[in-house]
Assembly symmetry: C2
Homo-oligomer: 224 residues x 2
């Protein structure tokens, strides 16, 4: 069996789950309390971070992008190349993977998740309202950028659905779980996200419900 | 001609330069004052960040990792595969590229460079001594990790020199330019860095000298 060590509201882990679903790869999730720094887990990833994938043959792959690139290499699907096929197109996918996986994460998701969720579950005091305000303010230009791109292309990185869409959508999916996306103000981004939500690969994410923190009603709704 | 838009003390830009050198690709550097947000540059990379590579055919690639992956694809050298050849090995290279390019950068390089250099050149006030102290303190465990890895393997990610070595060395190279690496306390890491410094691909970096900010004497010395 393939094991994915993860957190439920981690966009990085969600991206790996969607890639596995798109490729119809079997896997089992194991929730890892990374802050406990379990020696067995540190042996898998000394960075003490999820996601970590352990393959049936024992191969260990750590980090969202290394895992997604690895899965694309070992389970390439010519009908759905998640990085594209030509070097320039792959570069554009990776640019946007970087944009949403790093820049968006730093400017938006990490601010909101670490204040609202990490502090709640780890008992680290009250959320910092300045950080939450900054995260919410930074979200707008990114949603506009999604609209800008998808007015010019069918998907974020070009005419084909790619890892860029997966990484952007899994960031946004976590924010939407917290009801932090003002969809009515961002129609272009909503149209794109509606197309993502309707993909079978996204269904397991929409079925997630964290004990003590249920999602808002529209979260799993395809017509939101 | 191939153009690399860059900053001189950017580890990301230096990694791209070393990859070009290893592959003997011609390129010309253009220093981009990203903070001026030149419209022509924003058209190349809306993230307003270096490095950006513009190929002779006009292809634009933005971001260190997308550029390095792109160059590996278009100019693959079977005698020097910078990502390795097997998926598990490539995953290990990418894990360590991530480690040094993201984690190390966040915990060490960005703290020291932004306090010491960005503030100096952009007139943003005095360096924050707490941030500098934190960056210096965080450096030690990373240098120990380099020693740990290279006691068990010839290079960081395995028996072969890889992009992981390039990314780690270009981070450290910038710190060494600021004389922030206490080499006498970290012999293992020094042995590895000495091997990197002796590679012809590293010579252009060791010849860098920023006006008004010359490197320390040992910076270009192969026996340091």
């Amino acid at each position: 069996m393939r094991f994915l060590y993860q957190h439920w509201l981690s966009p990085d882990c969600r991206a790996v789950r969607v890639v596995c679903e798109e490729k119809r790869l079997d896997y089992e999730v194991r929730v890892e309390k990374t802050w406990e720094r379990r020696p067995e887990f540190l042996a898998l990833n000394p960075a003490a971070e999820v996601p970590v994938l352990v393959e049936p043959d024992g191969t260990v792959v750590a980090g969202a992008l290394p895992i997604c690139e690895y899965l694309e290499e070992i389970a390439f699907d010519a009908d759905l190349p998640l990085l594209g096929t030509a070097p320039a197109g792959r570069a554009e996918v990776r640019r946007l993977v970087n944009w949403f996986g790093q820049k968006f994460a730093r400017e938006v998701t990490t601010l909101l998740l670490s204040e609202k969720i990490d502090k709640l579950f780890m008992g680290r005091g009250e959320p910092d309202s300045d950080a939450i305000r900054a995260g919410k303010k930074n979200l707008g230009p990114h949603l506009d950028y999604i609209a800008f791109l998808t007015e010019r292309r069918r998907w974020l990185a070009g005419e084909h659905y790619s890892l860029a869409d997966i990484v952007a959508a899994t960031q946004i999916c976590c924010l939407d779980y917290l009801d932090d996306v003002p969809w009515d103000k961002y129609e272009g981004a909503r149209d794109w996200y509606a197309r993502i939500k309707s993909r079978p690969s996204f269904r397991p994410l929409l079925a997630d419900s964290i004990p003590g923190l249920p999602p808002p009603k529209h979260y799993a709704d395809l017509d939101f």
